[in-house]
């Protein structure tokens, strides 16, 4: 029964994490809308609650009580499964992301993460790429042309950038000598990995943009071309899970991983170490800044055509990632 006890404890902890992520993602939508608004000289959500603070709640309620419409020609099982398949892997990445060192409050040790694994980074990569199924199956199950094209497009983009991402991760791994995200952060005591890994960072930024479907890579739901992309036929909560997973949860989690890999995770910003800010807050500050950066890019740039994106993945990003490996290898051999 020890097992059951652990399981229940873990389930509660997971639930807290997931709920936190849900709420976080909901408010990230508000953040995005506010940011987009101000970039465009308008205030964004304003009247639903003070400064639009209740807007995400209203949206969530609305989406939850929309008719659950299943079109005639769809593959019903797959249709429902696809939205789960997009959502679960995206949130699973959260489980391997550490938000800080374990710390003790009132004598209880608290681990600000679900699991700290030796192969954490690999699993994050793996989960990140499993979400590709959600996209393809959503397109396929809908049995409609726009979703089909949108799904395949997104799949093509994900594929291209996943490979580049895999190679780009090699740099930080080489520096830290481990797949464990915690160890990677610890290895950045003296110097952040951005220093020799600048190429990898560029690649990772592009990959995150591509995987989360933000401009210049938002081909899958390019409104002007494909209406809603692979979610065109989705209604209600089935639909709600997609943007939640793709635009917010995935962006957040991948930003977190990027911060861990290149910006020293929860270590304070340089020269600001004296500030009385707890570790995980530093981490959130960095993630927030990176997230804002992605938003900023999203609301500025036009989008590529899908073949240009994949071509860029193979012809620019992959060589860059390989070059990064070479540079880091030489760096390690020279500087130890």
């Amino acid at each position: 029964m020890d097992l059951l006890g652990t399981a229940i404890f873990l389930a509660i902890k997971s639930l807290i994490f997931i709920m936190g992520m849900f709420l976080g993602a909901a408010y990230l939508t508000l953040l995005e809308r506010k940011f987009a608004g101000h970039v465009q000289q308008r205030p964004g959500p304003l009247h639903v609650g003070p400064h639009g603070f209740l807007q995400p709640i209203a949206d969530a309620l609305k989406v939850l009580t929309k008719e659950d419409l299943v079109p005639d020609n769809v593959d019903k099982v797959l249709f429902y499964l696809a939205s789960l398949m997009a959502f679960v892997p995206a949130i699973m990445i959260l489980a391997v992301v550490p938000f800080g060192e374990p710390f003790t409050i009132f004598g209880i040790e608290i681990q600000p993460y679900i699991s700290d694994l030796n192969v954490g980074l690999l699993l994050a990569l793996a989960f990140g790429s499993i979400s590709i199924y959600g996209v393809i199956f959503a397109g396929w199950a809908s049995n409609s042309k726009y979703p089909m094209i949108g799904g395949l497009r997104k799949a093509a983009v994900l594929i291209g950038y996943e490979v580049a991402l895999g190679f780009a991760l090699a740099g930080p791994i080489m520096m830290a000598g481990s797949f464990s995200l915690r160890e990677i952060v610890e290895a950045q005591q003296g110097m952040w990995f951005i220093i020799p890994n600048i190429l990898a960072f560029v690649v990772v930024v592009f990959c995150v943009l591509a995987e989360t479907g933000r401009t210049p890579f938002d081909v899958q739901e390019a409104e002007a071309e494909l209406v809603g992309g692979y979610v065109t036929e989705y209604t209600g909560m089935k639909f709600g899970l997609f943007p939640l997973a793709e635009w917010y949860i995935a962006t957040f989690v991948l930003s977190a991983i990027t911060v861990i890999l290149f910006f020293g995770g929860w270590q304070p910003l340089p020269l600001l170490g004296w500030l009385p800010i707890p570790e995980f807050l530093w981490f959130f500050i960095k993630v927030f800044l990176l997230f804002m950066f992605f938003l900023w890019v999203h609301w500025t740039l036009p989008r590529y055509r899908v073949d240009q994106i994949t071509e860029m993945a193979w012809k620019v990003m992959l060589p860059l990632a390989l070059a990064n490996i070479l540079i880091v290898a030489v760096w390690i051999i020279i500087f130890g």
């Binding site: 192969v119 699993l123 990569l125 793996a126 989960f127 590709i132 199924y133 393809i136 395949l152 895999g166």
Partner: protein, 176 residues
């Protein structure tokens, strides 16, 4: 450890169930779905055996890359018509499979592998961790097969491109 045992039973039963699904689902897309499920379950089994690196790579390479390849091809192929099964082969395949199964069991029980010990002992593995152990072995002792793997991949790529390409399209671009 209780956790391992539970894990084994859960994962293995699910793996077998989904494997049955792979074999008997008429709709190819469901078969592939079951395959994904099987692969993930197998990866879970790897984790219960302590093979972390392999477990992670199983998901990364197998459950994602290879199956995505299948899915891409399937989802762009018009639906297959006709009868999905040929039951007459069932009669042959079951005994043959059973034979192979017996053989495997025999080999394993008599420890045909015991002679082949590597540079790692159990303690060493515990110490450096499974990941590094596997990696070190791969890049030292099995260096030669490792390089051969790259050749295999190269050949596979060239072969596949040659087989799978549509001549007129690609040659036009090659000329450019």
């Amino acid at each position: 450890m209780e956790l391992n045992a539970t894990g084994f039973w859960v994962f293995s039963s699910l793996a077998v169930l989904s494997a049955i699904g792979v074999v008997f689902f008429r709709n190819i897309i469901y078969a592939v779905l079951s395959l994904i499920s099987t692969l993930i379950m197998v990866s879970g089994l790897f984790f219960t055996m302590g093979a972390e690196l392999i477990g992670a790579l199983q998901i990364l390479i197998y459950a994602v890359a290879i199956v995505v390849f299948y899915v891409l091809v399937i989802s762009t192929v018009p639906e297959f018509k006709g009868q999905a099964f040929e039951t007459k082969y069932m009669l042959i395949s079951v005994p043959v499979g059973f034979l192979i199964f017996l053989e495997l069991a025999f080999v394993s029980l008599y420890g045909a592998w015991s002679s082949n010990t590597g540079i790692f002992t159990q303690e060493l593995i515990q110490q450096v961790g499974n990941t590094k152990a596997v990696a070190t072995l791969l890049f030292t002792k099995y260096l030669f097969p490792f390089e051969v793997a790259s050749l295999i991949l190269l050949v596979a790529m060239i072969g596949a491109i040659v087989i799978g390409r549509k001549d007129h399209v690609i040659d036009e671009e090659a000329e450019k």
